[in-house]
Amino acid sequence: MIELTDVHKRFGAVEVLKGITGSVAKSEVVCIIGPSGSGKSTILRCINGLESYEAGAILVEGARVDAHSPSIVDIRTQVSMVFQRFNLFPHRTALENVVEGPIYVKKQPRTEALERGRALLAQVGLAEKADAYPPQLSGGQQQRVAIARALAMQPKAILFDEPTSALDPELVGEVLSVMRKLADDGMTMVVVTHEMAFAKDVADRVLFIDGGVIVEQGAAKTVLNQPQHARTQDFLRRVLHPL
């Protein structure tokens, strides 16, 4: 449902994506791993038009992603995003964060949206936090609200941009288990992550990106257990055995 063909992206003089080609099928979970600065997040940001790209093509359900075209709004309602730093609206409660899109973008009736919003908060284990403001919640709770907010748009896919990187270690698990449940329910997911255990357990496929190109890709367990490329081997060694 998401297809990238030879995508190039540069920031000024620096080319961060040097021809990315790949696809994500419906209900597939794809993890993108790689060193920082390799262009992992930029791929996600290009897919839902937060960044534009210079060459190549990105298609979502056959529609071309163009950050400067009005059609981008339609694509964004189909492909949600979860950010590293949550980006919840601090002036609105957890429930208001979740129903903001359904009420003001999708124009759903208020009572219906609120009812669904409460159900989504319950799904991520935060039913009792509906009226809390984001600053009153822990990082893990905020990220789960952010996932509920993404789900509220009833997207066909969700992009996760390092969803656990800003969390205290003991809070990582609660977010990953919510994501695992989503994957089990058949949600299409693209996850930029450093959580190799999650990638191994949950992902169907893993892409290893370095220097703006896909160095290696394949079934999660194959790439992570028997990496073929020297750069992949080196990266995994440093991530899995930092000492």
Binding site: R76, N87, G101
Partner: protein, 217 residues
């Protein structure tokens, strides 16, 4: 002191008529400058180059002209172009335009202080530019903008006295008229100063309230 109190009792009713006009000019130009300032600020951050340049240029022109000259222009020059404004209309329009530049810069600072991640989050749930402004950016910017906005209100209250230069009989002009006909300069201008101060104090308290509220977050 005895004399002052006697003078106060005599002049206060006339000065209060001036107070009324001072309040009308202040509130009128505050409303106008707020609307225009918000418009300039939104043009400035619209991302549309022509609008950004236009509002930047407008703000600089407005900032570069003294209020008193702007008032003279509206009141004495515009009739030559067939636009005759009453003194009160010219005062509200002139002060409103002059202060819109300060309002715009204040609003822009507030809007630009909002984390980019907020705007991206709004975009990823499909919000367009205006919806993002209305639902996400402006409600958060208000908290940042309120304390300086209170200061602008106080400055505007005092600058409303410039309307006296185009014959609006507000507090300062009423004072001057009484003083020049009675020669009781000390009593009259002490009264005028006290009356401005009396109007400023609630505003000063309001600013402090805004600041405390902003700091608590």
């Amino acid at each position: 002191m005895q004399n002052f109190l006697r003078d106060a009792a005599e002049f206060l009713p006339i000065l209060l008529q001036g107070v009324w006009l001072t309040i009308v000019v202040t509130i009128g130009s505050l409303a106008l400058s707020t609307i225009l300032g918000l418009l300039w600020a939104l043009m400035r951050v619209s991302g549309v180059r022509a609008l950004t340049l236009l509002s930047g240029g407008l703000i600089n022109v407005i900032r570069g002209i003294p209020i008193i000259v702007l008032l003279f222009y509206l009141y004495f020059v515009m009739p030559d172009f067939g636009v005759a404004l009453s003194a009160l209309q010219a005062a509200i329009l002139g002060l409103g335009i002059a202060y819109s530049a300060y309002q715009a810069e204040n609003f822009r600072a507030g809007i630009e202080a909002i984390d980019k991640g907020q705007i991206e989050a709004a975009q990823t749930i499909g919000m367009g530019w205006w919806l993002t402004m209305r639902r996400v950016v402006l409600p958060q910017a208000v908290r940042i903008v309120l304390p300086p906005y209170g200061n602008i209100m106080i400055m505007l209250l005092k600058d409303s006295s410039q309307a006296s230069t185009i014959t609006v009989a507000e507090l300062a002009l009423q004072g001057k008229l009484i003083a020049s006909s009675t020669f009781k300069n000390t009593s009259v201008f002490t009264l005028v100063a006290l009356m401005y101060l009396t109007m400023s104090i609630p505003l000063i308290l309001l600013v402090r309230h805004f600041e405390n509220k902003a700091n608590r977050r």
